[in-house]
């Protein structure tokens, strides 16, 4: 077996979403050499998949894409895609060693022109994860139209190895001989920006997700509302009907001890209100009803945004959903407790959106050898001193940015990444002084 390649950087950033990317960019601008390890095929994490952001209704892609291209082009930043930090060991102050495993893409990124001829030639159609399973994609594919890098990849698990993509490729950049690569990365500091997972609504069977096709997640609606949407317009997945009476179920998987997540996800109220406003724009005849426990519109401009949605005609019902049943025509009956009237009621909608919560993505803590990375009660990364230095973890030299610390919105993630890069810089400076 060949020796692992040894690479040296000032900072190892784990995660290439908006927080990891922002932290990497800040550090790179201070002339530190940064390695970003990203598990997916593109930068931008969850944000790049969103339609618009609250409360400004700016296009999410328009904010994310210039940022990710700046990260990609920065001379001090190296990015490894399809890669994971398997082992991170603190050998001493300013001395970390990480084992990074990279899966093959089967495409040489530098030679790929994103002509999409491989995509056209590929006969295989499988579920498109980026479009949240609403449509298919090819096994030779560009992850999504605004992916960075905009380069093809081969989904080897679903590939029939017919060779059509290779024959169609004008630059000869497809290479099925690529194998897994392992690196030893030496770094002086580590930034963990591994983000969050969305709550899986299959864990609440009484809402019928998976069984009733017109019950979708908020991320699926987010894709339907984006310019790079999966359908020709907003359609319900059960039968392609244009919906005209849409319900939102807030706190799906948040503030719910029965599913093991008692905390508030901080973003669901606002993204649901945002989607309500966007739906009013896309489907002017549609009714939108939001079933909520409490509306938490706590940020700058949030309450005004909430009031604005009411003025636009979004209906708000303080109610807890008991269960959802499907009618023969695909419409859904929501049985709920009207909290204000103290009555159990039923309402019919033709599509239901489950506003799924933010869950921790804590696997990275398993990678730490020796001193373990401490998590909080909900699986997010524990912050040693949340008020005085919010990016510090229990390991000196390991900092945390964004939703890896807990649920937060995009502006807070960017702020958190700023804090993480500042504290990392301060730690790195101590090595010199």
């Amino acid at each position: 077996m060949s020796e692992k390649k040894i690479l040296e950087y000032d900072v190892l950033v784990v995660g290439g979403g908006i927080s990891g990317g922002e932290a990497a960019l800040n550090l790179a601008n201070l002339d530190y050499k940064v390695l970003v390890v990203e598990k997916d095929l593109s930068l931008g994490g969850k944000m790049i998949a969103l339609s618009k952001v609250f409360p400004t209704l700016d296009c999410a892609a328009c904010i994310t894409t210039p940022k990710v291209s700046e990260i990609s082009r920065h001379p001090n930043i190296t990015i490894m895609f399809s890669a994971e930090a398997k082992k991170i060991d603190k050998l001493g102050e300013h001395n970390f060693e990480a084992h990074v495993h990279q899966k093959p893409r089967y495409v040489n990124i530098d030679d790929c022109t994103a002509c999409q001829l491989c995509e056209k030639a590929c006969p295989v159609s499988v579920i498109d994860e980026y479009q949240q399973g609403l449509i298919g994609r090819k096994a030779a594919f560009i992850p999504f139209s605004i992916a960075s890098p905009r380069a093809a990849a081969i989904d080897i698990t679903n590939c029939t190895l017919c060779g059509a993509c290779e024959r169609a490729c004008p630059t000869g950049c497809i290479d099925f001989t690529q194998t897994d690569l392992d690196y030893v990365v030496k770094a002086k500091a580590v930034v963990v920006a591994t983000g969050f997972k969305l709550f899986d609504p299959l864990k609440i069977p009484r809402y019928g997700y998976g069984k009733y096709k017109n019950v979708i997640t908020s991320m699926q609606m987010e894709r339907q509302l984006a310019p790079t949407r999966p359908f020709n317009t907003i359609l319900r997945p059960g039968d392609g009907k244009m919906p005209d009476n849409i319900a939102y179920v807030l706190c799906t998987g948040s503030r719910d001890k029965s599913v093991g997540n008692p905390i508030c996800s901080q973003v669901c109220c606002m993204y649901s209100i945002k989607q309500g406003q966007l739906l009013m724009g896309s489907l002017p005849m549609a009714d939108v009803t939001i079933y909520y426990l409490h509306i938490r519109a706590f940020g700058k401009g949030f309450n005004e945004f909430y009031e604005q949605s009411k003025e636009m005609g979004v209906e708000f019902i303080k109610g807890k959903i008991g269960n959802i049943k499907e009618k023969e025509n695909g419409n859904l009956i929501l049985r709920y407790e009207d909290i204000e009237e103290g009555k159990v009621k039923e309402a019919e909608h033709d599509m239901v959106v489950l506003s799924v919560g933010v869950m921790s993505n804590s696997e990275i803590s398993d990678s730490f050898q020796g001193e373990s990375l401490v998590l909080d009660d909900y699986g997010f990364i524990h912050q040693n001193d949340i008020l005085a230095s919010p990016s510090e973890t229990n390991i000196d030299g390991v900092f945390v940015a964004g939703t890896a610390t807990g649920p937060m919105d995009i502006p807070d993630s960017i702020l958190s990444a700023g804090a993480a890069s500042a504290e990392t810089t301060s730690y790195l400076r101590r090595a010199v002084l």
């Binding site: 056209k120 006969p123 295989v124 159609s125 499988v126 609403l134 449509i135 298919g136 994609r137 090819k138 698990t157 679903n158 590939c159 029939t160 190895l161 017919c162 060779g163 993509c165 290779e166 024959r167 490729c169 000869g172 497809i174 290479d175 099925f176 001989t177 096709k213 999966p230 359908f231 020709n232 317009t233 359609l235 997945p237 059960g238 039968d239 392609g240 009907k241 244009m242 005849m285 695909g330």
Partner: protein
């Protein structure tokens, strides 16, 4: 071993046989695609009309028709009189 550029899939196939499910998935997609395209050749149809004509669940029809739209085989037509369902048709009348 030096593998000829442009023929690396064949090389991999010799070492790693393709799983049965993967071939099965390809077969199913090709078959469903043909059935949907044949039905649309007879005239523009909505998702429920295609589901009824082919006895395929409507959610499956939508998924496949939208995939075919993405792959460039199908395009969106007018909406029905009730403003509920769109008609879908063969792209450019089937011309390449």
């Amino acid at each position: 071993m030096e593998v000829e550029k442009g023929k690396t899939a064949k090389y991999r196939k010799e070492k790693n046989p393709v799983a049965k499910e993967v071939m099965e998935n390809l077969k199913n997609f090709t078959k469903t695609k043909k059935r949907l395209m044949d039905a649309l050749k007879e005239g523009d149809k909505t998702v429920p009309q295609l589901a009824e004509a082919l006895s395929i669940p409507a959610d499956e029809v939508l998924y496949q028709v939208m995939s075919l739209l993405k792959y460039g085989f199908v395009e969106t037509g007018d909406i029905d009189d009730m403003d509920e369902y769109f008609y879908y048709k063969i792209k450019d009348n089937g011309k390449d």
